[in-house]
Each structure stands twice: as structure tokens, then as C-alpha cells.
């Protein structure tokens, strides 16, 4: 009984994804299921459609820019939180707060701010917004690792003559690796998929892939988005599977509060 219910519910959760994958190989522009044949033409369309090429480039620039700022800033903050347990929860609440702000509020806020500063034609506002949106994920992931770090190890390195930088490089950093990898993974995934905030602050020239996909879905009905979605889905499943294998996702999501 329970097993049947869970099976049906898991089917409800996963079937739409399978439909997208099946439709992406549909040979005609008119959607049909099951597809009447197999074709790669929508994948070709994804790669050759100029607006998607531009959006892929924008996604790459924005995500790399956001990760380059958020990773060091978030890691430093997580180390600070792990070392000063007193008062840490207040700082943590502040740093994690962008997570709970509705997308349209953040999006319109950044639109008004960007317009006031005259920055809306560049990708600067997009990158700034993405940094704020991925920072909570970086802080959380690194914090989990940093909390389990034994401070005596660093002191041992220092007492053996290592400079603070060398102790950080040779002792702290390797011990933080699982947290850092998880942080990088989350930051990249969250930034690549961010939609609502980006919709408010991008133009046709700066828009990232999810915004370009949204515009396409609203205007066209052919399976191009199914092909692009399939690429996203495959990438995400592989990333989450790797993370579960090597990073103990259950430890992060089930026992950790």
C-alpha cells in the first residue's frame, strides 16, 4: 500500500521530465507523444539559434563572475561563523537572508537600483544579483565542513613553524574540500538556473539562458525548449548523482538542520 503510493508519487515527480526528454527527439514542430520518429533537429536548433548563443555566453559570464566573487566571500564568512560560535546565528541569519526574499521583490529592487545607477545595459547588475543569491548556498555548504574542523590542527601546523597562510593552504583548505566542492556545485547550479530576478534586470543583449528560454516558450511551441531542457536535466542529474556519491548529500540534507 505504502510502496504503491510512493511509486505513484515518484512517478508524478519524474514523469513530466521523461515527457520533455521524449518530446525533444520529436521529428516535427507539432508536438506528439509518443514521438513518431527520432530527430536531432531541435538540438541543432538550440545550438544555431542566435539568441540562445548570445544567452549561453551571457550565462557563462554571469555565472563565472558570480561564483568568482561568492566563493571566496562566502568561504571567508563561513570560517568566521565556525570560529565564533557566540553571536554566529545573528550573522548567519543576515548572510542567509537573500534566500527568503521573493524573487519579484529582489528583481524589481535591483531593477530600480540599476536604473538609478545607469548600469542596466551592462551585466554588472545581473552579476551583483547572482552573487547575493548564491552566497547563502556557499556559506551554508562551507559552514557545515568548517564546523567539523578541529582548530588544534591549525595550531599544530603553526607550532611546527608554518606561517598562517601556509597553515591555511596546507591544513585548512584540504580539510574543507568537501564543503567547497558542494558550495561550488550549488552556486553554479543556482546561478545557471536563476530566472525571476534575472528577468527583471536583463535586456535582449544581456539576458541569460533561462530568460531566453522563457521568451521562446511564450512565443514558439516547437520542441526546441524540450531539447535545451533535456541538456539542463542531464547536467543536473549527473551533478546531483556525483554529489550524492562523493559528498554525502544525505548528511547535508537529512540530519543537518
Amino acid at each position: 500500500m505504502l510502496r504503491l503510493a510512493v511509486l505513484l508519487l515518484v512517478a508524478f515527480m519524474t514523469l513530466p521530465t521523461l515527457v520533455v526528454i521524449a518530446v525533444s527527439f520529436n521529428p516535427t514542430a507539432i508536438l506528439s507523444f509518443p514521438p513518431s520518429g527520432l530527430s536531432w533537429r531541435w538540438y541543432v536548433n538550440v545550438i544555431t539559434y542566435p539568441q540562445f548563443q548570445r544567452a549561453m555566453w551571457n550565462s557563462l559570464v554571469v555565472t563565472l563572475g558570480a561564483v568568482a566573487v561568492a566563493m571566496p566571500a562566502g568561504t571567508a564568512a563561513a570560517l568566521a561563523l565556525a570560529r565564533a560560535p557566540r553571536g554566529a546565528s545573528l550573522w548567519a541569519t543576515l548572510l542567509l537572508s537573500p534566500l527568503v526574499v521573493p524573487g519579484v521583490a529582489a528583481g524589481l529592487g535591483f531593477l530600480i537600483l540599476g536604473a538609478a545607477l545607469g548600469l542596466l545595459r551592462s551585466r554588472a547588475v545581473l552579476i551583483a544579483a547572482h552573487v547575493a543569491l548564491v552566497l547563502p548556498f556557499v556559506v551554508r555548504s562551507v559552514w557545515v565542513s568548517a564546523r567539523n574542523l578541529d582548530p588544534t590542527l591549525e595550531r599544530a601546523a603553526a607550532s611546527l613553524g608554518a606561517t598562517p597562510w601556509r597553515a591555511f593552504q596546507r591544513v585548512t583548505l584540504p580539510l574543507l574540500r568537501p564543503g567547497l566542492l558542494a558550495a561550488l556545485l550549488f552556486a553554479v547550479i543556482v546561478s545557471l538556473n536563476e530566472f525571476v530576478v534575472s528577468l527583471f534586470i536583463s535586456t535582449r543583449l544581456t539576458e541569460i539562458l533561462p530568460v531566453a528560454m522563457f521568451t521562446y516558450v511564450v512565443n514558439y511551441t516547437d520542441p526546441t525548449i524540450a531539447a535545451l531542457s533535456t541538456l539542463f536535466i542531464v547536467g543536473t542529474v549527473v551533478a546531483v548523482w556525483l554529489a550524492d556519491r562523493f559528498l554525502d548529500l544525505g548528511g547535508v540534507f537529512l540530519h543537518h538542520r
Binding site: 515518484v10 521573493p102 538556473n193 533561462p210
Partner: protein, 264 residues
């Protein structure tokens, strides 16, 4: 400590600057046909209560409540098995299937439902796409991963000994669930429900794509006002309203879970 926190705090300061720009615009007067604003006014907030928009607010509340209830019922069995299964394979499979949509973007997930609800796969007896029904299905699907994770975390904290004790004293499995498991998992049920309700209140992509302009929730009204009518003050007031309700609800759940932990 200060030095290590500074870069992250600067990032949060930029975010706070964006939110204060939003707050400021929400109390400025809208001048039609211009991005320039007039003087201070509370007109944007009374506008929310006008007949034109009250429907969207009402639909948002009803859809959010329905989504919360359905998501709770649909997520509990999955969360229970995820937390209790002895097989690492089942646990790992469920975890990946739960987390994968969690990390798949809103557009990809919603587009899947555009295909499923739009008579591509099956022909629905009643119209689904561009109706509130269809939006509800999409919202439940969207909320399930979050709810499953929160419930599974709560259930995995319950010592199975209690359930075995109840069973050994002659309680039927249904009774064990009703009298032991469910009450002990209440912290997860409450926090999961409030979080899903709060998130659904500001849902955007699902009603935008599955509602097709015929079903509008608060976030869709914000977009229409800000990006179509260039009424930034009006949109800002709606966004501030959504923000205030979300923060209020999350603060309430924070207090509730903190309270239950202290008593536990």
C-alpha cells in the same frame, strides 16, 4: 572575524540597497507614462485593495492554501520511506529523484507541465493548461521536493523504538501512524507547510507559464505593473506586500520550531 566577514557583508549590503530602493519606490507616487515619480504617497498600497487587483490576491491565497494541503499529503509517504528505508539503494534513489528537480530551474520544470497539461501526452477531459487547476498541479509538483526534505528530516529524528513499542502493545499500523508517528513529526509538518505556503505566495514562473495570462498571482501582477505598464511604484508596493507576508510567516515558523526544540 570582522575581516573575514567583510566581503560577504558587502554583498548583503548591495542586496539591502536593492530592497531599500524597492521600499522607497513603494511609497512614491506613480506618474503615468513616465519613470519619474511624484511625491510621497500610500496610494500604491491602497491600490492593492482595489477591485482590479483584489482578485489576484484572493486567487494567490486560495492557490497557496490548496497547494500546501495537497503537497503535504503527497509528500508524507515519500518522506517517510526516505527517512525509514533500510535499503541504501532505495534511500539514495529517492534522495536523487527528490533533489534533482530541486536543482532544476523553474523554466525547465514548468515547461514539462506545459507539455503534459497541454494535451500532448493525453487528452484531458477538462481543460488543464491556462486554468487554475493546471497551475495548482504545477505548484504542488514544484513544492514537493522542499516538503519531502523537511518532513524526512523531522521523521528521521523520531526514534523507531516508539513505533515498535506501540505496535507491540497491539496498535494497528494505521493507529501507530495516527497516534505516534504523525504527532512526533508535527514540527516538520508545521514548518514544511508554512514554508511551502510562503514560497507559493510569491510563485512566479508556474502561474506565468501554466496560467497563460488568465491566472494571475501576486508575483505576476508585479511583473505586469513593472515591465508592461512601467508602473514601478505600483509593482514595488505589491512586491513589498509579498515580502512582508513571506517574512512574517517565516518568522512565525522560526519561533514555532525554536519553541518546540526547547520543549523537546
Amino acid at each position: 572575524m570582522r575581516l573575514l566577514l567583510t566581503p560577504a557583508l558587502l554583498v548583503v549590503a548591495v542586496f539591502a540597497a536593492a530592497l531599500s530602493a524597492l521600499l522607497r519606490y513603494s511609497v512614491l507616487e506613480f506618474v503615468p507614462g513616465s519613470l519619474q515619480t511624484g511625491g510621497l504617497s500610500l496610494g500604491n498600497f491602497t491600490g492593492i485593495m482595489s477591485r482590479q487587483y483584489l482578485g489576484a490576491v484572493w486567487d494567490t491565497v486560495v492557490l497557496s492554501a490548496a497547494t500546501t494541503g495537497l503537497t503535504l499529503v503527497a509528500s508524507y509517504p515519500v518522506a517517510y520511506v526516505l527517512a525509514r528505508t533500510p535499503s541504501p539503494r532505495v534511500r539514495s534513489t529517492l534522495l536523487v529523484l527528490t533533489l534533482a528537480p530541486f536543482f532544476t530551474g523553474a523554466i525547465v520544470r514548468t515547461y514539462a507541465w506545459v507539455l503534459v497539461l497541454g494535451n500532448t501526452v493525453v487528452t484531458w477531459p477538462v481543460p488543464m493548461l491556462f486554468t487554475a487547476r493546471g497551475v495548482l498541479v504545477g505548484l504542488v509538483h514544484f513544492s514537493m521536493p522542499t516538503m519531502i526534505l523537511l518532513l524526512a528530516a523531522a521523521i528521521s529524528h523520531i526514534d523507531p523504538v516508539y513505533e515498535r513499542a506501540a505496535a507491540s502493545l497491539g496498535a494497528s499500523p494505521a493507529r501507530v501512524f495516527r497516534r505516534v508517528t504523525l504527532p512526533l513529526s508535527m514540527p516538520g509538518v508545521v514548518s514544511g507547510s508554512v514554508i511551502v505556503f510562503a514560497w507559493t505566495l510569491s510563485a512566479f514562473a508556474t502561474p506565468e507559464l501554466l496560467g497563460g495570462g488568465r491566472v494571475k498571482m501576486i508575483a505576476n501582477v508585479v511583473r505586469d505593473l513593472a515591465l508592461d505598464s512601467f508602473n514601478w511604484p505600483g509593482g514595488a508596493a505589491f512586491a513589498v506586500f509579498a515580502l512582508a507576508v513571506t517574512l512574517g510567516l517565516l518568522a512565525a515558523v522560526g519561533r514555532l520550531t525554536a519553541g518546540s526544540e526547547r520543549s523537546a
